[in-house]
């Protein structure tokens, strides 16, 4: 079996990562009741002999001794990482997996990318190599970061490039949290556009996430619970926010509920690589099937049923609803509507008691309402993993390579242009060593090219769709104008 290493960078990256490790431990504890260190566990965890104290040798077989996350925790301030180290997950990490500084990147991509990048390069490479040495077949790096700040965005994408140079054979999957329209970070459009150029060039797959969407989903689940839709078994506050059965008992932070959704995204994405099933979907199959052209590697994700993101037991609803919901606008993890744009490819990763006939039936049923690009009319990739998420009977993760990501990018570009035209805040960037004006213009043209590639695909769709595109542009402008 293969292993993956998670690189969590910046505040957002580390907070999301923290939720991931918590839920991953819970999932494995649920599947693996014997406490034996098995292949599935080995994909994200080392089993370390700590009896003689400290970071002992790896144990490959037998009882679980001490599980260590295959992770690198990086932040240019100490707060978040320190908190993790004092929290219930402290035993899962050790000091050799951390890189911190004190002052942060001040929401400045250039500080993260150029300044801290060159300053910490050696240290980072050394720790990455160490993490890689502990794997017998390293398949994938997962970078978790936000686009809007300085560290995750700047240093995170610096590391992405490092990974490409140092480990060209290993896949690079990036979970990127995009800033929302009302983001409190003024420079977030700069940081995001500068980071986008790196994602365009060096990532194998990017899973873009918008906090607005996460927020809406969390609310939706709360509403369902309060209106009693989930049935009488629901305890009011035992939703996404809760982590019953996991290590975490401390007070919950505002982002936790949202971050749990991302943690679930990563768990479901990797479940078929970790557990058995009648149609396995290894991580290397994701880019092979979903990325027809190297740069078009942005995948819009949706997770259904929503209640699987919460710790509630719900009387099982119709299975087919799970498939329908995965395509609806309000289940996407970015503000987008895949049904009204063009699919280049679509993957359905199913967990639990779902069989090939359920997949066939739902694909046949949903296909007429979806537009696939002309050369990929049957662009479906499916995976069947027999282990369901903890406490549930089934779940679905849909990954769409769909032109519906375009509006998010256009909006980002517009916000970038508003600042850039006035040269607002530019000097904060330009005085960082190695940062030049051309970095901005190149990043901008990289983003424009990407948007243009999506435009060309959209143009293949015909008149009625063109009208819709106009409408959605209108919708976003009027929205941001409020």
């Amino acid at each position: 079996m293969t292993q993956s290493v998670v690189v969590q960078v910046g505040q957002c990256g580390n907070q999301v990562g923290c939720r991931f490790w918590d839920l991953a431990l819970r999932e494995h504890a649920d599947v693996n009741k014997e406490g034996i260190y098995d292949e599935a566990l080995s994909s994200f965890f080392r089993n370390v002999d700590t009896r003689s104290g400290g970071d002992g040798p790896d144990i490959y077989k037998g009882k679980i001794c001490s599980l260590k996350a295959r992770a690198l925790l990086i932040d240019m301030e100490e707060g978040v990482v320190n908190e993790i180290l004092q929290g219930p997950l402290r035993d899962v990490f050790d000091s050799k997996q951390l890189i911190t500084d004190v002052s942060g990147s001040g929401n400045n991509w250039a500080v993260g990318h150029k300044l801290y990048g060159s300053q910490y390069q050696e240290n980072i490479v050394e720790k990455l190599r160490k993490a890689a040495e502990h794997c017998d077949c390293l398949q994938c790096f997962f970078i978790i970061h936000s686009m809007g700040g300085g560290t995750g965005s700047g240093l995170g994408t610096f590391i992405l490039k490092l990974l490409e140079d140092e480990f060209p054979e290993v896949y690079r999957f990036v979970t990127s949290v995009y800033p929302s329209g009302e983001d409190d970070v003024i420079t977030s459009p700069y940081n995001s556009v500068l980071a986008m150029k790196e994602l365009n060039e060096h990532a194998d797959c990017v899973l873009p996430i918008e906090n607005e969407s996460l927020f809406d989903i969390v609310n939706k689940i709360h509403q369902m619970a309060n209106s009693g839709k989930l049935g009488s078994t629901v305890k009011r506050n035992s939703l996404v926010t809760s982590s019953a059965g996991s290590a975490k008992t401390a007070q919950e932070k505002p982002f936790d509920a949202m971050n749990n959704i991302l943690a679930n995204l990563l768990l479901n994405l990797t479940s078929s690589a970790r557990f058995e099933g009648s149609l396995n979907m290894d991580l290397n199959e994701i880019s092979m099937n979903l990325v027809p052209f190297p740069r078009l590697h942005y995948l819009v994700s949706s997770l259904t049923p929503l209640y699987t993101l919460a710790d509630v037991n719900v009387p099982s609803r119709r299975l087919d609803q799970m498939f329908s919901d995965a395509f609806s606008r309000d289940h996407q993890l970015i503000q987008a509507d895949p049904k009204h744009s063009i699919y280049l490819a679509c993957a359905l990763l199913v967990r639990g008691n779902v069989q090939v006939s359920d997949l066939r039936r739902n694909i046949e049923r949903l296909k007429p309402s979806l537009h696939f690009v002309s050369w990929n009319q049957e662009g479906w990739k499916t995976g069947l993993c027999s282990v369901p998420p903890v406490g549930h009977s089934h779940s679905l993760l849909a990954l769409a390579n769909n032109t519906c990501v375009k509006p998010t990018f256009i909006e980002l570009k517009d916000r970038f242009m508003k600042l850039y035209k006035k040269k607002a805040h530019l000097h904060h960037y330009l005085h960082v060593d190695g940062m030049e004006q051309s970095c901005f213009s190149e990043a901008l043209s990289s983003l424009s090219d990407l948007i243009e590639e999506y435009n060309e695909l959209d143009a293949t769709k015909g008149q009625s769709i063109y009208e819709f595109a106009c409408m959605s542009v209108w919708a976003t402008t009027s929205y941001s104008g409020v």
Partner: protein
């Protein structure tokens, strides 16, 4: 003679396991409604073909298991061991840490050459366990990366290492709406390569088997396991022992050789399809009776109307009247939907067989004109009933049955190829556009050959 089964990739391993299960339970659980002596010689012939029993309480499958990821093989081995009735050899599997990622090029150009020696060693070892080796039965899907890419590579290696053995590849044709987005590319590459090295390709379409599960087996929630059991039943109905000659005294010793000899008279035509009748849920069997003439009538109409199961057969389709057309234009005069054959083999298992008339399959109008109908049709028989079915009939056919699916796959792959989508994933592993073009050309040739029958 013995057959060595080579199971490749997730699909190949899951189906292979089901095939051995079916064969084993056929000889173990049932007595075949025949004389004790008959049953014994059937069992012995079956064992010789598929199992070896040296130094082991339970029969050991003559099989080599290959995948590039460990999960499927681990599961397959342990399921077989748990059955308690048969098992795989402890040492005859090969796996690596990560799959080929649905990339044919990865399987063919990377894993193939890298693991050639280890894989061929296993195969050699398994072959040496056979007193007499008849050939290889390779099971694989053509949509993924391992079964398809590595499968094509291994088949070439088998051809080189065992030039006189028969190579039959069992190929799973993907669902038309896909499990793998690049399945049409992978299929085109697989088929074109297998066409060069295998003696014949025996094809099962997932769409068809799925339909059989839904409509004939009445299964509500269909799993791959259900599908594989139907496939295994059909394969068993062909490969279990049968008498190849009228009034034969002993079971055929060379099943693969006999099959090729009857069905593949020309190397340009090596696509074989399989149909069987009846097929129904086990609990309905007790309430059903069948007559041979009825079964044969259905089977023949399934052949000429290209129906892949006994439900929904188009009874309007009739063979063309011979002599009414001049040879050069006869494909134009052919009745609509008529499926022209090159060669057919009918296998009958069960009692009361003396009065059977297979004349309807010898009708020259069923066949292409360049072959003598006498050579184009054969039948194998045994009184020994198969797998709880009192009577059963199977048809292996070399005919135009796959023309449409093949044309579809090539068309879709070509469409994608024209937009250059996904090509970079293949060139990464040194399969270039040229290679694709060669494969397209090779399959166009196959299509045109079958079309002009």
């Amino acid at each position: 003679m013995s057959i060595v089964t080579v199971q490749l990739g997730q699909c190949g391993n899951q189906i292979g396991h089901e095939v051995f299960n079916t064969i084993c339970s056929d000889v173990r659980d049932t007595h075949g409604l025949c004389s004790k002596k008959e049953n014994e010689s059937y069992r012995d012939a079956c064992k010789e073909r598929f199992f070896c029993e040296e130094q082991s309480e339970v029969p050991v499958a003559r099989a080599v298991l290959i995948d590039m990821e460990p999960k499927v093989i681990t599961q397959t081995l342990s399921m077989a061991a748990r059955s308690g009735y048969w098992k795989y050899d402890d040492g005859s599997h090969f796996c690596q840490k990560q799959g080929s990622g649905n990339n044919w090029a990865n399987g063919y150009s990377v894993h193939g050459p890298r693991h050639k020696e280890a894989i061929m060693d296993l195969v050699q070892k398994e072959a040496e366990k056979c007193d007499r080796l008849g050939g290889f039965f390779t099971i694989m899907s053509m949509a993924g990366g391992t079964g398809s890419g590595l499968g094509a590579f291994v088949t070439q290696c088998l051809r080189d290492a065992f030039p006189t053995s028969f190579l039959l590849n069992h190929v799973i044709w993907p669902y038309s709406t896909g499990e793998v987005i690049v399945q049409n590319y992978n299929s085109v590459l697989t088929l074109s390569h297998l066409y060069k090295s295998a003696d014949a390709l025996l094809v099962h379409e997932n769409d068809v088997v799925h339909k059989i599960c839904a409509q004939l087996m009445n299964i509500k929630q269909i799993s791959f396991r259900d599908i594989n059991q139907v496939i295994a039943h059909q394969l068993g109905s062909v490969f279990q022992p049968a008498y190849t000659a009228e009034g034969g005294l002993c079971y055929s010793r060379n099943p693969l050789g006999d099959l090729m000899e009857t069905l593949v008279p020309h190397p340009e035509f090596k696509m074989l399809g399989l149909r069987n009748i009846p097929q129904m849920p086990e609990n309905s069997l007790a309430y059903s009776t069948f007559s041979w003439p009825g079964l044969i009538k259905h089977l023949r109409q399934m052949l000429i109307a290209n129906a892949k199961m006994e439900e929904g057969i188009d009874w309007q389709v009739q063979p063309p009247r011979l002599g009414s057309s001049i040879p050069s234009s006869h494909s134009i005069n052919k009745p609509l939907h008529f499926n022209t054959s090159i060669a057919n083999l009918v296998i009958l298992r069960g009692k009361d067989m003396h009065s059977i008339d297979l004349g309807s399959f010898r009708d020259p109008s069923l066949y292409t004109s360049w072959l003598n109908p006498k050579d184009a049709f054969h039948s194998w028989k045994t009184l020994r009933a198969f797998n709880k079915y009192e009577k059963s009939a199977s048809l292996v056919s070399n005919s135009q049955f796959l023309l449409k699916p093949l044309d579809n796959i090539v068309g879709k792959a070509w469409n994608m190829f024209a937009s250059k989508a996904y090509i970079h994933q293949y060139t990464k592993f040194s399969i270039e556009e040229e290679d694709f073009l060669d494969s397209f050309t090779a399959l166009e040739q196959v299509i045109s050959s079958y079309t002009s029958l």
